[in-house]
């Protein structure tokens, strides 16, 4: 197994993996999307809403605001233990973070309320981005609400998913049959949207630096009049890309997903043992 970090930014990670079966990488990818917990607002209680927006509209917007959840993962109870108390309208402090919004526009002009105006009861759980516009208040408009955030999983609602994109990409390989390639033909160069080909004196060549940008559209194959171009993908070599919403770092998302996968597999083997299947 080989692993190379191709690209790493604050909210993005790109890994090159070889000699790992696709189903292993795919289980990690699916767990990143639907199982890794993160914080999001799940209940909003309005005490006053004299704005032009419906309660539901505001509550939906608040739910989509990403909240920092890195320390919260160990601090708060897992989602399964919290949903029962939420249904009973109880918000115990070991499950829920309270975020208050109290805003009024006493002037005549317009006032935009941003995510930074949410006052959190826990300084470690707050909106990731400060300038998300949540509401616009006209003259005399007023809003007062309390919102409760808890840990949740992406399979319940996408707002709890810590990754906005988790993608596996195949690694392309382009073969050019020299005996068939027509020297004056430049069709594959013209048609390629990612500029993978470059012109040489003898015909067409694949640019090594640009091949990774290939999006496997197969246009070069289709347009070639002599069927000299062949596009294939490498076996057991993949690129895994994870783009975070900001609630967790990409590194933490990967580590958590592996931990959850391990937990699921070991629980399965333990159950098999209890049933006596492994004897």
């Amino acid at each position: 197994m080989e692993l190379i970090v191709l690209n790493k930014r604050k909210d993005f990670i790109e890994l090159y993996l070889s000699n790992v079966p696709l189903y292993i990488i795919n289980s990690i990818r699916r767990i990143v999307i639907s199982e890794v917990p993160s914080m999001a607002i799940s209940t909003v209680i309005f005490t006053l809403n004299r704005s032009m927006f419906y309660d539901e509209y505001i509550a939906h917007r608040l739910g989509l605001v990403p909240l920092t959840s890195e320390p919260a993962l160990s601090k708060y109870k897992p989602p399964e233990e919290c949903s029962e108390s939420e249904e009973a309208s109880l918000f115990p402090p070991d499950c829920f973070v309270k975020l208050d919004l109290d805003a009024s526009n006493n002037g005549e002009g317009l006032l935009t309320i941003y995510s930074k105006d949410l006052k959190s009861s826990d300084p470690e759980v707050k909106p990731v981005y400060d300038d998300i516009p949540i509401l616009i208040l006209g003259g005399g408009h007023k809003v007062k609400l309390e919102a409760y955030a808890r840990l949740g999983r992406g399979r319940e609602h996408y707002k709890w998913s810590p990754a906005s994109a988790a993608v596996i990409k195949y690694i392309p390989e382009v073969f050019i049959d020299r005996s068939r390639c027509l020297p004056e033909c430049r069709k594959c160069i013209e048609v390629c949207p990612r500029n993978v080909f470059k012109a040489t004196d003898s015909g067409v060549e694949v640019s090594e630096a640009a091949i990774i940008n290939c999006n496997l559209c197969h246009l070069c194959e289709k347009v070639c009049p002599s069927e000299a171009v062949m596009l294939k993908t490498r076996e057991n070599e993949y690129i895994l890309r994870i783009e975070s919403t900001g609630s967790l770092s990409p590194k933490r998302i990967l580590l958590e997903s592996i931990k959850i996968l391990e937990g699921k597999v070991s629980e399965l083997s333990r159950k098999l043992e209890v049933q006596g299947v492994l004897k």
Binding site: M52, P133, I136, Y158, S164
Partner: protein, 69 residues
Amino acid sequence: MIKLIFPIRCFTCGKPIGHLWEEFKSRVEKGENPGIVLDELGVKRYCCRRMFLSHVDIAYDVIKVSRKS
């Protein structure tokens, strides 16, 4: 789907984009090319890009006819 204010996340992929709208709007109003502004803001996918390019701020018109207090 009525978008009164600019959405917080992209409808299709879920990338948070709400915090980028005001910068995008002010820069485009100053005459910059919207495509280049989106590239610089790091909005790469076309699902997120259409959120910016197709958005009309209706809220500012609706608020004029809304009830006072």
